[in-house]
Symmetry: C2
Subunit: 463 residues, 2 copies
């Protein structure tokens, strides 16, 4: 290590110690011949002081600019009375610098990192590395890290296994659009990026893993209106031999544990539940933010249950799944799969709503080949189409499938709410714009005709 401490560690106990610090220059203030520098890293800010002598050092210090990366040697001193800053952990001390080394210099910044200065979204995306240095932005990613790790710890203790599922997989017709990846080894064939690990997590249940989770990357090639990203992160959970209530309780226990451990917030469980029908009737929405929610002042969690199994698409004149085609009908609705009252059928699905936003959704799955076939028939999915698109799931069901259920949470959305961020972009290190562009890297970019030729494809020429 080329430093002895980080910029958040020095305090009164270290007075008179010789230290080496490294960090970014947050500010320089010249008070007559004395120069003060705030040195910043992820851990905090330490005040440096350069005395008028030796002159060589003092004149070197005068060249210090904001965001230069420097290494200093010095002695920890108590700050003079009335110059302390009790608001930060290092606020009672300063380091009197004896040696200064520029590790790298900064050019003039495209924007200031001050908390109160507004920065255009374009600039924060183009110079993401600068925006991420802002302490209040850095904190969001430290929090995201802690939340993720606490979720993992909770699920690990409950004997859930984190298992990685493929990113290069097969196109499935789940509504929204798949990103395609041309294969070079299999020319003119394409992988698809998963919209979720749905089929794989069900296969993992058929494989007997019993309790699965994954903090999984998912992809959707949709028009990015609203607050969406082409790639997003999902906490994906599935378990065997359990029912709706078990998933709801597990979720409540997990969120209560994580919110308390990381945020110090006590959530009152169980969360209130409302039926889909009541939600629509009373609040005109399937994700209401109800009054007098007892869970927590800041965090108004609510379960919405009893969704219809199907909804009629007037435009296409066909029935479609309200959730997805693997959602189980409730026991009273199984019979109705053969009937004409499809709009009345209810599913065993549940959505978790937080402050009026959907942050989780799941269901008990169909584990009967017969029921699955009937659902496909209603959805107008032919047996050939079913075989082609998810034949592998149906095939696996022939060899002993356990009853299973699960849920998936949109972590970007959840973390944006927790950090009171305007957009999910604020909790994604390297997000894209609404047009799917990364101003930082310039992705997506042009590729050569030759690269495409190897894949057996070419660009369509303009007419």
């Amino acid at each position: 290590m080329i430093r002895t401490h980080n910029c958040g560690q020095l305090n009164e106990k270290k007075i008179n110690e010789k230290v080496v610090l490294c960090g970014w220059v947050a500010s320089r203030r010249d008070h007559g011949k004395i120069i003060f520098v705030d040195l910043r890293d992820r851990y905090g800010i330490t005040q440096l002081i350069f005395l008028p002598k030796p002159e060589e050092l003092s004149s070197k210090a005068k060249k210090i600019r904001s965001e230069d990366v420097v290494k200093i040697k010095g002695v920890v001193n108590k700050r003079p009375a009335k110059t302390e800053n009790p608001n930060i952990p290092t606020g009672l001390v300063e380091v009197c610098v004896e040696e200064l080394e520029f590790l790298s210099r900064s050019e003039e910044l495209p924007f200031e990192l001050d908390k109160d200065k507004e920065v255009s979204k374009e600039l924060t995306l183009l110079h993401r590395y600068l925006y991420l240095r802002k302490p209040e932005v850095t904190k969001k990613f430290i929090l995201r890290h802690k939340l993720n790790q606490n979720v993992r710890e909770f699920l690990n203790k409950k004997e859930f296994l984190e298992i990685e599922t493929p990113i290069l997989t097969k196109s499935t017709p789940e509504g929204a659009r798949d990103f395609l990846v041309p294969s070079r080894l299999q020319p003119k064939k394409f992988y698809a990026l998963p919209q979720s690990p749905q089929l794989f997590k069900q296969i993992l249940m058929v494989s007997g893993f019993d309790k699965y989770y994954q903090i999984a990357r998912c992809f959707r090639d949709e028009d990015l209106r609203k607050d969406r990203q082409p790639e997003f992160t999902q906490l994906d959970i599935e378990a065997s031999f359990l029912e709706e209530d078990d998933v709801l309780k597990l979720t409540e226990e997990m969120l209560a544990s994580v919110f308390f451990q990381v945020l110090g917030v006590k959530l009152k469980t169980p969360f209130p539940r409302i039926s889909y029908q009541d939600a629509l009737e009373k609040y005109k929405t399937d994700k209401p933010d109800i009054e007098n929610n007892p869970v927590s002042g800041d965090y108004r969690f609510l379960w919405v249950v009893g969704f219809p199994l199907f909804e009629y698409n007037q435009e296409d004149k066909r029935w479609q799944s309200l959730h997805h085609p693997f959602t189980a009908p409730d026991s009273e609705s199984v019979e109705g799969l053969g009937g004409n009252n499809l709009a009345q059928l209810k599913s065993r699905s549940y959505d978790l709503v937080l402050n009026g936003e959907e942050i989780g959704s799941g269901s008990v799955r169909i584990h009967s080949t017969e029921i699955q076939k009937k659902v496909f028939e209603i959805l107008g999915i032919s047996s050939e189409e079913a075989e082609e698109k998810f034949g592998f799931l149906l095939r696996s069901f022939k060899f002993g499938v356990p009853p299973h259920a699960g849920i998936a949470f949109g972590l970007d959305r959840l973390y944006a709410i927790i950090t009171k961020s305007e957009s999910i972009r604020d909790v994604i290190a390297f997000p894209k714009t609404q047009r799917g562009i990364s101003p930082l890297t310039g992705a997506p970019g042009p590729v050569s005709e030759n690269q495409l030729k190897e894949l057996g494809i070419k660009k369509i020429e303009e007419e």
Copy 2:
């Protein structure tokens, strides 16, 4: 929960308790009129016994087939003397069944799940859900989970942050091939899947995150000879204000901690080091498995250090990086970047070798724009090309870049060695064949002309 216990929990303390178990039928044995069934789940095997009466139950039990999923109610009994199986935790008890329910039936299996039966690789990939049920296979994924979580725990304690980097990014010229993803919102432009988070982890250092890691999915569209997969998992680590020895020590401490916690194996640290030149001279390889390695009997870790910075590509008649273009030259070699003795220059890189296989590789990175430019010149990368390909990294370096270093480990390879697996396929839940095909899902698959048209591309017709 529809069960009271799992199949690994019952023991003498539970005798006389009424229990509900669920699981897969591992075997059925009829001893006269008494029927024995081994019920299996991820946690273990419990012996069920069906008595001759009531006859209705007994005749239902006679229909039980291997891999049926059943739910039973019954009473825990002590096994009769001399019928105990002391080799399994549940071996002193059996459950006398009172109720039996088939949750789902299994057709005849394409292969038996017995430990000793050889199964063709094709079948294990096609019916992956069956292969994964084999207890010795399941164990590998439980171990993989524990190893991953222990790695995270270790790094979390050291204040490393796990930060997610993009999967949809820009093509970079790091040697091997990128998978391309056509963009619909930006027609005729392409994302690339990352071969590693290399550029992003360096940008995270410029962003001040100080200590980063990620268990990251990486992609390479290479010819899959040997034991390679188009997508693989890497433990990616980067930190600021540190040097080679810090990375080596961190790695040794991490592996010693994880191996002890998960495997009960004590690794002797520090690991031995050998120079690249000595390795080549003495062992004719840059990843030797040296005699009398003191680290551990089963795990012969070895650092290889002092690699050349460049190697000459005879075919293309040009210099190329032995590691990658961001690898720092050692202090003695910096001067030589302007000279003619390029073959003599050494880099600040290090490889970790385990039992003769490379499982990790890293370096101190260049943090000087000047040195980076000289390296690009030697590699024949024009400033336009550098700007286009990784201009964003070079741009970030203008605003204060800390000295930084890192390492990346191939987790699939490491876990294959630990589990004594023949192939990395054995530690990947849903692997692909050497031709990049998933026999389970059928990926990659055909897509429609319309899907391609939306992306602004079409297939090249055969001549």
